[in-house]
Structure formats: structure tokens, C-alpha cells
């Protein structure tokens, strides 16, 4: 031990930068960094010169000019009089909405398919294999186009839903009918779904460029509060189990805590659904969801779920049968075994590749351009770019935004990942 420090240090020679393991890696890193900086500088310089030669300058002022185009799906107020920046925000929200629901649905479907693929039922496991292989091996773009074509070409026109007096008298059914207890109508123009309405909504406050919907905020606060209380309840149950050995039953309390306040809030605000209705030749009321959104969401979900299914299958198979056998031999029931033994180990294998699937799905939303879904790529990187001619600015800004979203997702998931990984091996 002591010897290492007693050895006199070699005097530094220049050749040690290359041949000494202590310095070698630094040398290499510095050289690479220099080369990279030179390449970037050359690119920037070249671009700036080219722009100057064409009389353009690098400038983001166009963001505050009038956009002048309409966006079908807008979750924040927007008209064609709004700015390009506002259009960017609308597009960004559209990207996030489809990515969010895509991740959720793909996870649910992927987990189900992954588990079923391991089923002992030959037919079921084969069907799941066919699904996974079909979706994994055909480009996503084709799935998006196919979903869109099916939705817009094979669905009935709104007037097909009509029941005329003669038909009613003859007891005939209309050519098309609504689904989900007559609340949803799929037509060739889009999907009419019920709209949530509040009789006594809390209104909203305007904070300059964003308006806060107080009703939504209140609902979120109540849900967050419920989860927190439930978390405390579970912690108390665990403490009691540690002290007395008996774990108090918490499931009905959990259900009450998680759903009670939310239902109460909804009742207090006078929540009700406005079901779309056929008036004349078209549906009114409710919300019209464009097929571009539905097609993109369906294709992204089905495509990504195929990959997630494989990840889940691998995760479960990575855990040897000996683990559940040992738990059974100790007297643990299958549900406890899954929760205490299988799941904690499977999650460790599943989460890292799941993160990259979420990132893929989020980036793949930009393929929505194929069905004119106006997301970030369609607004900032599409119409705004074409109208203003600011290709470089738009592209860089768009890349920066996608990068930011991806980094946020990956940071959040890595945080979760760290909580399930082994502390020691």
C-alpha cells in the first residue's frame, strides 16, 4: 500500500502524452474535441457566408409575424391572425398530445401482447407472434397511411346515420349507426366524440400568452392530492405490518380516496357529456376528432406496442422459473409472487429499452405530416417554414425542441429506472 506513494514520480516527458495510460485518454479527448470544434466552426462559417451571399440573415423575428394559416386541431386558442410562435405552440401541443396518448396506449397494448405471447395457448401465442412480426417489419409510414385511408375511405357519410320517417315506419335500420352506446359516430369527416362540459366550471385566467383553465387545474390538483393521501395510507399500512405482522386491508380505502374526491368535484362542477347529434346532414355538438389524429395515434400505438411486447416478453423470460418456484415453495401465492418477486426483477430489464421506445414514438409523431396532422413538424417545420423561407432557423428550432422533449422524457424515465435498479450486484 505505502509503496505506491513512496515511488518517486517520473519526471514528465512529452512522449508520455501518447504512451502513458494516465495521460493518453486525455490527449485523445482533447484532440477529438479540437477536430470537432474545427468542423463546427467551418460549417457555421460556411453557412453564414452562404446566407450573406443570398442576402439572408440569421434571425428569429419572423416568429412574431402573422402566421396566416389555419390549424385543424387546436387545443389552445388560435386563429390565422395569430403569430408563427403561436402556431408553433399549437403544433407543439399537438405533438405532445399524440405522443402522450401513444405512449400510454402502446404500453398497455404492448404489455398485454407481451404477456399473451408467452401463453401456453398455442393459438393465442401464435396470433400475438403474427401481430408483432407484421407490425415490426413494415415501415411505420405505411401503417399511418393505411389507418388514414381506412378511416376516411371506408367509413359512412354523416347522412348515412339518418333515420327518415319512412324508414322508421318500415322498421328499417339506417345504413350506419353510432357506437359505444350511441355516443361516438365515426364518419368519413372525422370521429364525433362526446364533449365534457361543466355547468358550474371555474372559468380560466389569462396569463398573457397562456390561459389557465381553472377547472382542469382543480381536477389535476384533486387527483394529485388523492394520490398523495393514498401514498400515506399505504405507508401507514406498511408501518402497521412491520409492527404487528398484520397488514390492514387498504384496497377499499384506496378506491374511496382515489375516486371519491374526483367524483365529488365532478358532481360539484356539474360535469356532463355533450353527445354529438345528427342535425340535418351533419353531426353537431361534441368534439370532432380529425382522422389525421386518430390514424396517427392508432398507427403509432400498434407499431410501438409490437416493439414493447418484445421488450416485455424478454423481461419476463429473463427471470428464471426457479424464482417463482422458490416463492411458491415458501408459501407465497401467485399474485404476491408476481408483485414481490417477478415484477421488481422484470422492470429492471424492461425499463431501459422502454425508454428508447418512448423516445422513438415521440420522434415518430413527426411522420404525421404524411396525413397532414399539424404537429410541430407540420406547423413550424412545414407551413411556417415554407411561408417565411426561414429554413435554417425553423429546422434548428425544431431540432432543439425535439431534443428538449426527448431529454425530458429520458431524464424522467431514468429517474424512475434508478429507483428500480439493483443497489448492489
Amino acid at each position: 500500500m505505502a509503496m505506491a506513494t513512496d515511488v518517486p514520480k517520473d519526471s514528465f516527458r512529452l512522449s508520455m502524452l501518447v504512451y502513458d495510460t494516465r495521460y493518453r485518454s486525455y490527449t485523445i479527448q482533447i484532440v477529438v474535441l479540437l477536430l470537432f470544434a474545427m468542423a463546427v466552426a467551418w460549417l457555421l462559417n460556411n453557412t453564414a457566408q452562404n446566407l450573406a451571399a443570398r442576402g439572408k440573415e440569421f434571425n428569429f423575428a419572423f416568429l412574431w409575424q402573422r402566421a396566416g394559416y389555419d390549424i385543424g386541431q387546436q387545443l389552445i386558442p388560435y386563429t390565422n391572425d395569430s403569430t408563427h410562435f403561436r402556431a408553433l405552440l399549437v403544433g407543439l401541443i399537438n405533438t405532445l398530445v399524440v405522443a402522450f396518448w401513444g405512449c400510454i396506449f402502446a404500453t398497455i397494448l404492448g404489455v398485454i401482447v407481451g404477456v399473451l405471447r408467452l401463453s401456453h395457448n398455442w393459438l393465442i401465442s401464435r396470433m400475438m407472434t403474427v401481430y408483432v412480426e407484421t407490425f415490426r417489419n413494415i415501415p411505420l409510414l405505411l401503417w399511418i397511411l393505411l389507418s388514414y385511408v381506412i378511416l376516411s375511405e371506408t367509413t359512412p357519410q354523416p347522412r348515412d346515420f339518418r333515420v327518415t320517417d319512412e324508414m322508421a315506419a318500415a322498421g328499417e335500420a339506417p345504413a350506419a349507426s353510432m357506437i359505444f352506446f350511441d355516443t361516438v359516430a365515426v364518419t368519413n369527416r372525422g370521429t364525433n366524440v362526446p364533449a365534457p362540459l361543466f355547468e358550474r366550471g371555474l372559468g380560466s385566467v389569462d396569463l398573457g400568452f397562456v390561459t389557465l383553465n381553472l377547472t382542469l387545474l382543480a381536477a389535476l390538483a384533486v387527483v394529485a392530492g388523492s394520490f398523495w393521501v393514498n401514498h400515506r395510507l399505504v405507508a401507514a399500512a406498511r408501518a402497521q405490518q412491520e409492527a404487528t405482522g398484520v397488514r390492514p386491508a387498504t384496497w377499499w380505502k384506496s378506491i374511496l380516496i382515489l375516486f371519491g374526491p374526483f367524483i365529488a368535484l365532478m358532481a360539484a362542477l356539474g360535469f356532463h357529456l355533450e353527445v354529438p347529434e345528427l342535425k340535418g346532414f351533419n353531426f353537431t355538438g361534441g368534439i370532432l376528432v380529425a382522422h389525421s389524429f386518430t390514424a396517427l395515434l392508432i398507427a403509432l400505438t400498434l407499431y410501438t406496442a409490437a416493439f414493447i411486447a418484445e421488450i416485455v416478453r424478454a423481461g419476463i423470460q429473463a427471470i428464471s422459473r426457479g424464482q417463482s418456484e422458490a416463492a411458491f415453495a415458501l408459501g407465497l401465492r401467485p399474485n404476491r409472487t408476481t408483485r414481490l418477486i417477478i415484477l421488481p426483477q422484470a422492470l429492471r430489464v424492461i425499463i431501459p429499452p422502454l425508454i428508447s421506445q418512448y423516445l422513438n414514438l415521440t420522434k415518430n409523431t413527426s411522420l404525421g405530416i404524411a396525413v397532414s396532422y399539424l404537429d410541430l413538424r407540420g406547423t413550424l417545420g412545414g407551413i411556417s417554414l415554407n411561408q417565411t423561407g426561414r429554413e435554417l432557423e425553423c429546422m434548428l428550432l425544431m431540432m432543439l425542441i425535439y431534443l428538449t422533449i426527448s431529454l425530458i422524457i429520458s431524464a424522467a424515465m431514468n429517474l424512475y429506472n434508478r429507483s428500480v435498479q439493483l443497489k448492489a450486484r
Binding site: G245, Q323, E325, F328, A329, R336, A424
Partner: protein
């Protein structure tokens, strides 16, 4: 031998198997098994690979289901009734060839998991019991490590301690030493011998004939799903009855 004599066998029946048959699909793994184990007996089961030894002892805690006949463990018949299965499993401990420790839990958590969730023991008490059994298998200092940080022999001793924490009345061992290096086999066998001396009812699939001679009061030889021969170890080794037993013994004792 002298030690084996010291150990008491009571006249209380621990396990009763009558006319038991088991199939894997078309394959008849266990044929007409009849077997009675008294409390305090130490039974060694041996036989060629694929003869159904593992399957037989796995039927005793219902890791495998039998299709015909009767298995009664401690007065509880094994049927599809979940309550009976739970009852038997909480009284029968099992040690596996590949240890099957839970890698995501510390040694202490491995030992307290089942007492806490199945026996509903307070955590502190479960931890005290766990430390007691860890001391018994001579590795109390490893309590806060993870299984992956232990040697094979240590892991198998943890696995034995994990079963003991449930205070079982019967212990099943499925080749507990065959995944271990020679120098670790002894530490595990010593633990098992100690357990036998304390009067535990044990069924042990093993090819450690030294262990059989030291502690077993009966050796059962299986071949092709049948119990071919059973006898006290002395007679079994010195005077095997069937040709198959002779062949088997010449093979394993030969090298």
C-alpha cells in the same frame, strides 16, 4: 452410522403417498409410487438422470401436480384446494439445486419475506429469527449483502436458512450440492447433517453417498419413474437387490 442411530424416528406419519401416478402429456414420469415417511426420518433418493427424482419431491409441495393416487402431507391431502396447498407449503421447506435466492433482495430480506407475508410475523421478530438461522448456517455477517455477492456455498446455506425461517416440519432437498465446487460441498453438507441431528424430517435427492451413509436411515433408488429398491444405507450399499441398483451403484461409486 453411530450418529444416525442417535437420531429418533417417531411412529407418527409425516408423508403418505399411495398409488401415485404422474404424466407429462403422454410421458408417464412417475409410476405407481407408494411411500410412507415417518416424522424424523432422513431419506436419500438416488437414481439415474431422468428417473423422476425431482418430479417426485416436487409433487410433495405441489410444485408439480399428480394425476392419480393420493399424497397426504402432515395430515393434509394435496388436492386442487388452494387452502390445502397453502397449508402444506407453509410446513414443507425446499432447497433447490440452483439456490433460487431472490437477487433483488438482501440476504436478510430473502429470509424475512415469507415469514412477513405468509406467516404475518412482525418485521422485527422476523429479522431476529432470520439472524438466528443465519448464525446457525454460520454467515450472520452477510445479512446485508445481496445474493450475487456471495459464494455458491454461502448462497446455498442462505437458501437453507430461508426455508428454516418458515419453521417447516419437513425439508425437501433437490440436489443441493451438485451446482457447487468440491470445496463448498462440505459446508453445505455439514449444515444438512446438523439439521438431521436436530430431528428434521428430510427428503434429499443427492448422489453424495457419504452423506447418505452418515445421516440417512433409508435410501430409495428410483429408475424410470418407479421406486426400484429401498433399504437402510448399510444394506443398500453392501447388498443391493436389483440389477439396476447394482449397475447404478457401480457407476457412481466407480468414479
Amino acid at each position: 452410522m453411530a450418529e444416525a442411530a442417535k437420531m429418533q424416528v417417531s411412529d407418527e406419519v409425516a408423508i403418505q403417498i399411495t398409488g401415485m401416478n404422474k404424466w407429462y402429456g403422454q410421458f408417464h414420469v412417475l409410476r405407481d409410487i407408494n411411500m410412507t415417511v415417518m416424522r424424523g426420518e432422513r431419506i436419500v433418493i438416488c437414481g439415474p438422470s431422468g428417473s423422476g427424482k425431482s418430479t417426485l419431491i416436487r409433487c410433495i409441495n405441489r410444485l408439480e401436480e399428480h394425476q392419480q393416487g393420493q399424497i397426504i402431507v402432515d395430515g393434509t391431502e394435496l388436492t386442487n384446494d388452494l387452502k390445502n396447498i397453502d397449508k402444506v407449503r407453509s410446513e414443507v421447506g425446499m432447497v433447490f439445486q440452483h439456490f433460487n435466492l431472490f437477487p433483488h433482495l438482501t440476504i436478510l430480506e430473502n429470509l424475512t419475506l415469507a415469514p412477513i407475508w405468509v406467516r404475518k410475523v412482525p418485521k422485527k421478530e422476523a429479522e431476529e429469527t432470520a439472524m438466528y438461522f443465519l448464525s446457525k448456517v454460520k454467515i450472520p455477517e452477510q445479512a446485508h449483502k445481496y445474493p450475487g455477492q456471495l459464494s455458491g456455498g454461502q448462497q446455498q446455506r442462505v437458501a437453507i436458512a430461508r426455508s428454516l425461517c418458515m419453521k417447516p416440519r419437513i425439508m425437501l432437498f433437490d440436489e443441493p450440492t451438485s451446482a457447487l465446487d468440491p470445496e463448498m460441498i462440505k459446508e453445505v453438507l455439514d449444515t444438512m447433517i446438523q439439521l438431521a441431528q436436530e430431528g428434521m424430517t428430510m427428503l434429499c435427492v443427492t448422489h453424495e453417498m457419504g452423506f447418505a451413509q452418515a445421516v440417512a436411515n433409508r435410501v430409495i433408488f428410483m429408475d424410470q419413474g418407479q421406486i426400484v429398491e429401498q433399504n437402510a444405507p448399510k444394506e443398500f450399499f453392501s447388498n443391493p437387490q436389483s440389477e439396476r441398483t447394482k449397475l447404478f451403484l457401480s457407476q457412481i461409486l466407480g468414479h
